[in-house]
Symmetry: C2
Subunit: 532 residues, 2 copies
Amino acid sequence: MAISGKQLINGLWVQGEAGQYQAINPATAAAIEPVMSYASKVQVAAAVAAAEAAAPIFAATSLAQRAAFLNSCADEIMALGDELLDRLSQETGYPKARAEGERARTCNQLRLFASTILKGEYLNIRIDTALPDRQPLPRPDIRFTNQPIGPVVVFGASNFPLAFSVAGGDTAAALAAGCPVLVKGHNSHPGTCELVAQALAKAVQKAALPGGVFSLIMGSGREVGSELVLAPAVKAVGFTGSQAGGMALFHLANNRPEPIPVFAEMGSVNPVVLLPQALAQNAEAVATGFVGSLTLGVGQFCVNPGVVIALQGPELDQFCRAAATALAKVPAGVMLNEGIAAAYHKGTAHLAGQAGVELVAAGEAIGGKAGFCSQAQLFKVQAQAFLANPHLQEEVFGHASVLVVCQDKAELLQVVSSLRGQLTGTIQAAPDELAAYPELVQQLRQKVGRLVVNNYPTGVEVCDAMMHGGPFPAATDARFTSVGTASIARFVRPICFQNYPAALLPAELQNSNPWQLPRLINGVKTTAAVEA
Amino acid sequence: MAISGKQLINGLWVQGEAGQYQAINPATAAAIEPVMSYASKVQVAAAVAAAEAAAPIFAATSLAQRAAFLNSCADEIMALGDELLDRLSQETGYPKARAEGERARTCNQLRLFASTILKGEYLNIRIDTALPDRQPLPRPDIRFTNQPIGPVVVFGASNFPLAFSVAGGDTAAALAAGCPVLVKGHNSHPGTCELVAQALAKAVQKAALPGGVFSLIMGSGREVGSELVLAPAVKAVGFTGSQAGGMALFHLANNRPEPIPVFAEMGSVNPVVLLPQALAQNAEAVATGFVGSLTLGVGQFCVNPGVVIALQGPELDQFCRAAATALAKVPAGVMLNEGIAAAYHKGTAHLAGQAGVELVAAGEAIGGKAGFCSQAQLFKVQAQAFLANPHLQEEVFGHASVLVVCQDKAELLQVVSSLRGQLTGTIQAAPDELAAYPELVQQLRQKVGRLVVNNYPTGVEVCDAMMHGGPFPAATDARFTSVGTASIARFVRPICFQNYPAALLPAELQNSNPWQLPRLINGVKTTAAVEA
């Protein structure tokens, strides 16, 4: 099916009733065919009603059925073939290799969730059997499992048109948990959104699930987004994007008559601390690695290293020279859309205008390039000026970073302790050097979700052990990751069954353990049956 | 040490600087010696600063050290002996047997958390080892564990002066997680609060922990409570109490510059559905069981059954007669304090005045009894009147309940579907009767945290499988329990370590697995070491 510009509501493709628009190719600023549509409030309500109706049916599917469905979603995305990759590149300016890589990541992610739910650990099954003779009171039989929280709204991110979008991490986690998903697609890549939604709609149909299990709604965040978050049937929200956007949704959701959780991953400046021995031994390699991380994907990552912290000295001078050399070779990059490019130009100009801030290195100038281009930039500031100016901690989305120069270790620790919550914190250290900085590690552990040593923060592995989140304002809830298998926990809630008829228990709680899952039975983890 | 009326701040007992008061014996309305004090804002700030300073030190303790500390807390509470039980009875009107039972529950709870953390499951350890040869990109070594979220404020409940108070479930869970705790004690039982805090202070001292690990602050919720919740160093709040109180804290916390989670368990009406065959076979036993649950502890439980739902018919008439007979024998009860008794009188009078509501049975009248007494009451209303009046779903804290009479199964389902979120839902059903009500079960599963069959909701077992919480407004976050070992999850947050020097990893993530904990290594749960 060609791109239609329609909305996916209750399994049907319908023309949006609230206006039309076209995607823009950021490399050329030209409009892309076809004309797309925005959903009306009535259409949003219809999608929510379909999700609500689908919720108990989808919740009643077995783990095996849901796993098969997730794998089928991945198959259908692959079956879109080059049409998806081409459209993605057109809408984002990403080279085809990046498109392919992100497609692989997205499909692997769906398959990883499929294999994860089959293991059943995420259900956190707990069974305490009856103790009828206990004194002074008998203990009833109590059995605990996780069930889907209900319909989930997912806001697609601009910068990962596949992996954090229509069938991205939030969607995969919510579907894995058994929650219907309503995606508010990102208006920067609506064709990509629609193609992926076509794939998911096919998978829904092949699995004979109700259409309400998956919907795609296009529109503005302020209108359609608010409408979705305020719908009483919606029980949770996943979001990846700006702090302003995330906090608007957070407050909207908390002030509903029934508040609901908003898992907003809002980016951060991802400090990189360069310890002196690491620089003394390896300033060039550290600089090259840093510039690579800073400029990957035109810096359009939430884990982009936006602040570098180091002690002054000849090693740092060497790092700066090497970074300048590396940065000079970085071409001006096409950003995702006009708004992001404009924000980058404004943000870097604002940085350059702050007291004590100087530009120390830059990439290729934009020159006469077409499209929404930007130039990589590295600024420098003394620690005291950084400490005095909270604006310097604000994320500038793109390939810009601020080097904070500290006079001594005490000042370095002061800079680190002044940081707000972060997705990641990185330390470049020589062998054995880190052991001399216990306070630095302790400080960073309190600030970040992921602590990286001698790697760079870009590259968020989709795996069991990933924590992609962190203390506010990196995310609205530091207790959850939005990448990796632990992210399912956002979309389930526990229920326990007391003295419940054995035959009517959910499969995972039945005595015979038909799915052979690990369960905590009377305090012991086992896959054994319950002795009835 | 005798009761001093002081605050426990940074390990020292200091006179509160914001006024004085005395506890009131609810059975006599007489003031109890000695004079107690309220903390000032400056004193709150000092307690918070001590907790902040203690946080990294407490977080660095081993699981074994924290388990020993929790057990020591239980030992010290037991060592208070009869002084604690007597003071508790004086301050609450509870008989000594209840005081003893609650003390046992509280100490067992501390010991259960001690044994739970030693198992290490709550750390959710995940290790994905490096794949240096992976194509197109190598995978770094990534290791995930849970760490304490930071200082936690706990608001003691009025109705469980031990088990949901100073060293109650929230405190035990937070300490188990490694978080310093600041308790805002309940002003109804300040002497009990102080005695328990004395016990915990001793345990802190014996464990050579910093005084800031545990503080007791007395004062009004509006002043001292707000001050605590707004303190930037505080990272989470546990609360058990009214919806008004819980929601005030929730909004306060969400509107901080850095929002923090509030786990408020705000009670509910805990619907009990009586299916017709259950009544036909056993109306008297069901009625007696119900009245026992309704009037236990003068009905002062958040899981008290405040709404009963049943089909009209001769079986229900029989239930009503039997309930009336049982209720008539229930003595007028002493409530916890003047405010609770006044709210009960107001709430029952309000119920009695609603259209279609009639009083069908009651316990002993108050008569000339001393203290803050109340009479048990059972009201009746037709389903249509119930559906038309949301006030009838409001909790009246105490031994009052509303029987909702339905004309048929469809109306019964309509009543159930109209309910808001609940801590519990109970069904009384004859053998095999439940299977005929799949919609009822499905509806209740979406409404409750605990689904009870042929038991009553009162009696919240402290165990692995307990879920004490539920969809809003029963609790502010349906994804967490406030009773049982799963409640630790509220007070930890994940962090992952990428490419981290093996020797500097936290113990639970080290290759050798020194604590022998279960870990998910490359997708497989095992206690084996990581092959380096």
